[in-house]
Subunit: 306 residues, 2 copies
């Protein structure tokens, strides 16, 4: 089974204004969209669309859980969230001006009690079996410490499972130290991990020496991976980009789908690129169209870059 | 029984930012408050705090109804909303900068089907009996036409009930034509109704000639009413104002409480002023403190202004 863990999921609310946002006046919303937020929930949505069974886990504030569950239903995501009492699933609001330009307003997320943290541990101890794949993605809420995060990985490692971790900053460092199986920083996150002046390829080689499977995502330029001391870049064809929100997560979804099918590393990365190049052609944060896959696959370039 | 009807209720979300709102960057929310929106729901909250039984009616989009019902629970409001499928209760967002200044972002509200409009009519036909008091307050959603609004009043008028209508613009005109029992425009709304150059007192006399009970609310200056060809102003004492959101609705709540207790017009207006002068001393949109009532009552001035 594949389990995704979103420690701090979100409801994304995109509000298109009739005019442009002005202070001290009533700004009327012309159109309103609700979408799924939180990186690992996006991975669940992608896997679901690829017909790959999976279960979304994590913490959901119970004050607005029904609204959150409805958003999960949009993508038919099966879930078993721990419901956190008297807290809310965070909302991320994007306000878009009529003449362009936008404002993003984000919340910190719920306060997670010790008891709820234990509940997650118990669920994982109960459910997870050898051979399962676990995807942890996105930053935890403020009350979920680095120590909590390390313990989460330790519990998972008691069984021989595949742990994919798409996190940044201190959490990425901890994930590497706890020896997870897969990480996927983007260029910015890789530069935060290795702040020196070296070329990005040098940094990526360093990273690849520390983890079984590493990918560095490069936005519209695709992604790189390492194989037998060489670095390869998998580059998608040019497509019309409607929204890159969730593009990195859809890459992880595609890659993990490949892992579940025992694809080679090269084919896992290719699958990630196919899925993300489809995703960017849609507004929804994790909407893809399988009919676009053939064209993308046939026009992918794989370059040896170092 | 008192019934309040909110055709377009709202969930108010007040977001205090860590910094000041900036375009094209992530603006983090420091503190988050949820409050009740929609004028007649505020009236219900006030009546509830005055220990006056009442039931809130209207339309609630079912997508986020649970969140809305939780906000109603904060004020222990009994309600029987018609749940509108695949629509949301509108959200009104107030974003407050760290160094002051705010942005209000409001939605239009749900699309109400013919069937749901009929459901409201049926509920009213079933429930409302002679002697009941009905409070209709706040603008209807865009798909609820002036004609729908007139029909709503006509249904209510089949029984001899007391109809209070706190609406503006075309809806105020219609309410007057349909001969409701009470209206409460503020100065701005009265000027929209009678756009000429005359003094506000002249306009108020015109209005008072057309409806059994009229009050014009004057913000921190109180409210005016007419009695035997004279106009009186009921003026609250100076109090520390924390928030005037919901002040007009709390006036209506106090006034209607008076009506339910068979108070004289003068005492109904006084009760309205007492309640609203308590409300402005709180941040919550309909929070009052009965311990403040004595001081306000003892320091109210009643002036004959014309």
């Amino acid at each position: 089974m594949i389990y995704t863990i979103t420690l701090n999921p979100a409801i994304d609310k995109i509000k298109y204004l009739e005019g442009n946002l002005k202070q001290e006046q009533n700004n009327r919303v012309e159109k309103n969209f609700i979408d799924l937020g939180g990186k690992a929930t996006h991975v669940s949505a992608i896997l679901q669309q690829l017909n790959q069974e999976n279960i979304a886990l994590g913490f959901a504030g119970d004050m607005n859980k029904e609204e959150f569950y409805r958003v999960l239903e949009l993508y038919e995501i099966k879930h078993e969230y721990i419901e956190v009492r008297n807290e809310s699933v965070r909302e991320s609001i994007v306000v878009i001006n009529n003449s362009g330009g936008s404002y993003m307003i984000t919340e910190k997320g719920p306060i997670i009690s010790k008891l709820d943290k234990k509940k997650l541990s118990h669920i994982l101890e109960d459910k997870v079996k050898g051979g399962d794949i676990i995807v942890i993605a996105g930053s935890p809420p403020p009350t979920y410490s680095l120590q909590d995060f390390r313990e989460l990985i330790k519990i998972l490692k008691r069984n021989s499972v595949y742990i994919a971790c798409d996190v940044a900053g201190e959490y990425l460092k901890a994930a590497l130290e706890e020896k997870v199986d897969f990480v996927k920083p983007n260029e910015h996150e890789l530069n935060v991990l290795y702040p020196g002046e070296e070329e990005i390829y040098e940094k990526f080689m360093k990273l690849s020496g520390r983890v079984k499977n590493a990918v560095c995502s490069l936005g519209s330029e695709g992604a790189m991976y390492m194989m037998k001391d060489a670095i390869y870049q998998v580059k998608p064809p040019k497509v019309d980009i409607l929204s890159d929100t969730g593009a990195g997560d859809s890459f992880v979804g595609g890659y993990i789908y490949g892992v579940s099918q025992n694809y080679s590393t090269r084919d896992c990365v290719k699958q990630g690129i196919i899925v993300s190049a489809s995703k960017v052609q849609h507004y929804g944060s994790c909407k893809i169209d399988l009919n676009q896959f053939n064209y993308i696959e046939n026009n992918i370039e794989i370059l040896e870059v170092r």
